[in-house]
């Protein structure tokens, strides 16, 4: 064998440089994102669980206690196979509430920053021996290769390199919850090296020493005691406490918690890990017996911890030694790097930041980052000191046992967090303190004060009872003390947030009535400094697209507070962030405040896929009722007890043109006009119904009726229903107008009939005067009387015609009328009067326009309209006549350049006897007649005046008549 110490060291340094380069290239984006973010990369990094204890220490346990060595592998296998009920809920809680460590979790659950500080201290004390174990494993592996190596010096250099790596790649981002891709890829690479090294070494033993599986089986048949050794029944069941300890260590140790829940953003990784991680552990575990049997053949009996190095030396194969060395280096370095990063964050958030004053400087963020890097160095230094003064006095396995039994004390509290809402802070602390005390007094102190070197299993014999007692007492105290000292309302709220399928609720049950942007700024500034506080608030406002104004709605302030808490949680830790933003305390038992409802609904929307069972059914019912309210054809607006708008359905959006996002959380008086007056006045009145009220929103007049009812159960407030009555109102007006015209028509008909007879008599007597006298004055007077009676007769005939046009049963709709002919004849009739020839007529008529009805009546209508247009038009002006078909209608437009109709007269033009002409010039019945004819023909008429808005003159008359179609002719033919 040509490998010497310096070569091995160089290889080690080269390997570490490879790790640095890998991490650096990952951070620079050289590796594809698909590889970095692939769930397999994350799962491979989880193999950091197989630390030096699993890589080296497993051999000594396998040698002494056979299959008991599988405890570390099987414990973790159980953890990952139970991922859906243990790891996934923890991931959801950590993700929802920005939790990055065990201390964050317990501080959040039990609503106490002091709990976080206490947990941090405990984890730090228990983790340092674990890190020291890794240092010891690496330095001792070199010492066993070459006894000249000074383990302490090697350990020091090793610690410095690990600190550098942790600082460079584990403290790059300010937010603790940012992913450290470089770190994770490097750790994943180490896991691959570890597993491949073990498999390669086992393959060498299997195919090199035993000549394959057949050879191995033959050897085992010849040496049955080797198999029996594996199945050496350990005394008692004490190795099972080991199983439980490794079950807990798989997710409670700081490096595993950090990788599982802080560096991981997706549940798909955990799903993959639920079988891939056990597969990796399985592959590592099956190598152990093979390598152990290899050591039997090669008669390697040094401390079994470093059996792999000795095997390589016995085989005189350099690469075997290198594989063992690099595998061990990977196993140790991975844990050190991740544990350092995790512990530094915990110490910063829970021990330092709560007590020190933060500088008010623009470099606040880099100050925090450098603090974290310094803490990485400090933790490493502490672990080195533990290695120096404590670690190297114990075998690896013993040190590992002490550590893992210590971590086991957190298991009852963690299970209570996930599954038991009634666990209180006092109960949790009592149980934990009792467990840790027993661990310290019964296991740690005796080991430190009376160090012996028994086998691991003998140690277990000694410690088994105490380990069981500590767990039992821990669990019992949690239950009993929690039963005696009930959790507070805050703790209960957080307990609800932690249980499975719970909807994470932001801490929105505090009153915010007096909180403004300025208040938030002052509160943050007192802790972070003005500059940093300002920057954080600006960042949060930008992410919510809110303006930096002090007039934010209560709902927006609540959202702002939640975003600030999330952002600050990533920087300072959730406990510190919550303490910073904690407003006034709860008032009243009702944890819900009205404006929380839409926040709650927003969260329900995002969590709806994860709800199951009864929660999912209730959510379906909620969605159904909400959809019903949302799509009601009348406006629904609900207010809470403080008159803030909670709900604004689609009909309200259609009426007001205001989206729900713009009004939720506002009071009615804060709405835009005219809705503010309408709703706020109605809310203040005692009445529950307000009939159709006119609202002028600038575009048109509309009418709305309002109904109101109070909500008395649970969440108080009121519901306002708003109904659009505009159409009803317009129809009612039109009906009244039509009734008025009809009554006038009937009156006119009656008068006409009564006047007709005496007028006829007067005409006859005047005629007789001509025959009875020759006097010119008398004859002239008689002529005048006859002329006036003829005039009266014409008026009477007009009245009778007007009255008769109301009788629709006489109109025959089965005949088509050519409107082209009608218009041309009307123009000709108009031109018979010389005075009307001074205006020009311009016609633009589509061919073949037909309607149904009476030709003469339509002709009369057009003549009346053209006469009016001509009378209003100045000389040499133009009257335009346009006629065209539009879908099932024929439209006729008559546009003149006259004086137009004033606004005050426009409402009366169809009234009988209404005229603006001088007395004697018009009867006032022309347009009334036109109106009746059009109504009988099922048409519409509209006057627009002024027609020319720029010059403010002219009148445009638009007549719509139903078009005569082929179907009408066919149906008439069918009837005939």
């Amino acid at each position: 064998m040509t490998l010497d110490l310096s070569a091995l060291l160089l290889i080690g340094i080269g390997y570490l440089i490879l790790l640095f380069v890998t991490a650096y290239l990952t951070e620079r984006g050289v590796l594809p994102n698909k590889v970095i973010r692939h769930p397999l990369t994350h799962v491979l990094s989880l193999a950091v669980y197989a630390s030096a204890w699993t890589f080296y220490g497993a051999f000594s346990i396998a040698s002494d206690a056979g299959f008991a060595f599988l405890a570390s592998y099987l414990g973790a296998t159980v953890t990952f196979m139970l991922a859906p009920i243990i790891l996934m809920p923890l991931l959801r809680i950590a993700r929802s509430h920005q939790l990055s460590s065990l201390a964050d979790l317990f501080a959040f659950r039990y609503r106490s920053a002091r709990v976080g500080s206490f947990i941090t201290l405990l984890v730090l004390v228990i983790s340092m021996p674990l890190i020291a174990l890794q240092i010891q494993a690496f330095s001792d592996s070199l010492s066993h290769f070459d006894s000249r190596v000074s383990g302490q010096h090697v350990a020091l250099v090793f610690c410095l390199i690990m600190s550098l790596f942790s600082m460079l790649f584990g403290a790059r981002q300010l937010s603790i919850r940012s992913r450290h891709d470089g770190l994770m890829v490097a750790i994943a690479l180490e896991s691959i090296v570890k597993i491949v090294a073990l498999l390669a070494m086992a393959a060498v033993i299997l195919f090199g020493l035993f000549s394959g599986p057949v050879g191995l089986l033959e050897w085992l048949e010849q040496n049955p005691e080797q198999l029996q050794r594996l199945q050496t029944h350990p005394s008692g069941n004490n190795w099972q406490i080991l199983l439980l300890a490794f079950f807990a260590a798989a997710f409670i140790t700081p490096h595993m918690f950090h990788l599982l829940f802080s560096e991981n953003a997706s549940e798909s990784s955990l799903k993959l890990a639920s079988w891939f991680m056990p597969l990796m552990l399985f592959l590592m575990a099956i190598c152990i017996p093979l390598l152990l049997w290899g050591s039997v053949i090669l008669q390697v009996d040094t401390p079994k911890d470093f059996l792999l190095i000795r095997l390589g030396q016995a085989l005189e194969q350099d690469w075997f030694v290198i594989a063992a060395y690099l595998g061990g280096l990977s196993a140790s370095s991975g844990v050190i790097i991740v544990a350092n990063v995790a512990l530094a964050s915990m110490v910063q958030n829970h021990l330092l930041l709560p007590v020190i004053k933060l500088p008010d400087t623009e470099r606040f963020y880099s100050w925090l980052l450098w603090m974290r890097r310094s803490l990485i160095l400090l933790v490493m230094a502490g672990s080195y000191l533990v290695y120096l003064f404590v670690g190297n006095r114990f075998p690896l396995a013993q040190l590992g046992l002490i550590t893992f039994i210590g971590f086991l004390q957190f298991l009852p509290g963690l299970l209570a967090t996930l599954y038991w809402q009634k666990a209180s802070r006092i109960g949790f602390l009592a149980g934990l303190c009792a467990g840790i005390t027993i661990w310290l007094l019964a296991i740690v102190l005796p080991a430190l004060t009376h160090p012996t070197n028994p086998s691991s299993l003998n140690l277990l014999d000694q410690w088994y009872g105490w380990a069981i007692a500590s767990i039992l007492i821990n669990s019992i105290l949690i239950m009993v003390i929690s039963w005696l000292f009930k959790p507070s309302a805050e703790e209960e709220e957080m307990a609800v947030a932690c249980v499975l399928n719970a909807l994470p609720r932001s801490q929105s049950s505090f009153t915010f009535e007096n909180d403004t942007l300025e208040d938030l700024q002052l509160r943050l500034g007192a802790r972070l400094g003005t500059t940093s506080a300002q920057r954080e608030i600006e960042r949060a406002l930008e992410s919510l697209n809110l303006p930096p104004t002090n007039k934010l709605r209560p709902l927006d302030l609540l959202r702002l507070r939640n975003i600030l808490e999330n952002n600050l949680s990533g920087i300072l830790g959730p406990a510190e962030a919550t303490a910073l933003l904690r407003p006034q305390s709860l008032s009243g038992n009702n944890a819900f405040r009205g404006r929380e409802i839409h926040l709650l609904e927003e969260q329900l929307e995002s969590y709806s896929e994860r709800l199951s069972g009864l929660a999912a059914e209730l959510d379906k019912i909620r969605r159904y009722h909400r959809s019903t309210l949302q799509h009601l054809p009348i406006g629904v607006c609900t207010l809470n007890e403080r008159q803030h708008i909670l709900f604004w359905n689609q009909a309200m959006v259609d009426y007001t043109g205001i989206a729900p996002d713009a009004v939720l959380g506002l009071k009615p008086e804060e709405l835009p006009s005219p809705w503010s007056d309408l709703l706020s006045n109605f809310c203040q009145q005692q009445v529950t119904y307000q009939p159709a009220t006119m609202l002028d929103n600038g575009k048109q007049q509309t009418w709305f009726s309002l109904h109101k009812t109070d909500i008395d159960e649970g969440l108080q407030g009121c519901v306002i229903l708003i109904e659009d009555e505009t159409e009803h109102k317009l129809l009612a007006n039109r009906l009244a107008h039509s009734e008025r015209l009809t009554s006038i028509g009937r009156f006119a008909a009656g008068v006409a009939h009564e006047i007709g007879n005496p007028v006829t008599g007067i005409a006859c007597l005047a005629q007789n005067l001509k025959l009875e006298t020759d006097q010119p004055e008398v004859l002239e007077t008689g002529e005048a009387i006859v002329e006036q009676t003829q005039r009266i007769s014409r008026i009477v005939q007009s009245l009778i015609r007007f009255a008769h046009t109301g009788q629709t049963e006489n109109l025959d709709h089965s005949k088509s009328v050519s409107l082209n002919n009608c218009i041309e004849e009307a123009v000709d009739l108009m031109r018979f009067d010389e005075s009307r020839r001074k205006v020009k007529i311009h016609m633009d008529i589509e061919p073949k326009l037909y309607s149904s009805g009476d030709y003469q009546q339509l002709l009369q209508m057009l003549v009346n309209l053209l006469n009016n247009a001509s009378d209003a038009s100045p000389e040499q002006s133009t009257i335009w006549i346009q006629a065209y078909s539009v879908e099932n209608w024929v439209e006729i437009e008559i546009i003149d350049q006259g004086t137009g109709i004033s606004a005050e007269h426009q409402g009366r033009i169809f009234e009988p006897f209404f005229t603006t002409k001088e007395p004697g010039k018009g009867t006032g019945l022309g347009l009334a007649l036109v109106y009746n004819i059009i109504t009988e023909h099922c048409g519409n008429i509209e006057f627009i005046s002024p027609a020319d808005k720029k010059q403010n003159k002219g009148t445009q008359v638009i007549i719509q008549l139903p078009a005569w179609t082929e179907q009408d002719s066919l149906s008439v033919a069918g009837l005939e």
Partner: protein, 55 residues
């Protein structure tokens, strides 16, 4: 709540029964049995996860 109680019972059951079951498998049956059972569990877990992904 009912669902939580079932899950609590499941976890406690696993933690209570797993050690003696594992003990029995490791120390009383054939040497290859624990590894075989372990491999089967991994295989079933993988099947369940992969079938869940594809459905």
């Amino acid at each position: 709540m009912h669902q939580h109680r079932i899950l609590i019972l499941l976890v406690l059951l696993c933690l209570t029964l797993a050690p003696p079951l594992i003990h029995a498998g490791l120390f009383t049956g054939p040497v290859w049995l624990p590894f075989f059972l372990w491999a089967m569990l991994i295989f079933i877990a993988a099947l369940l996860n992969l079938s869940g992904k594809n459905s």
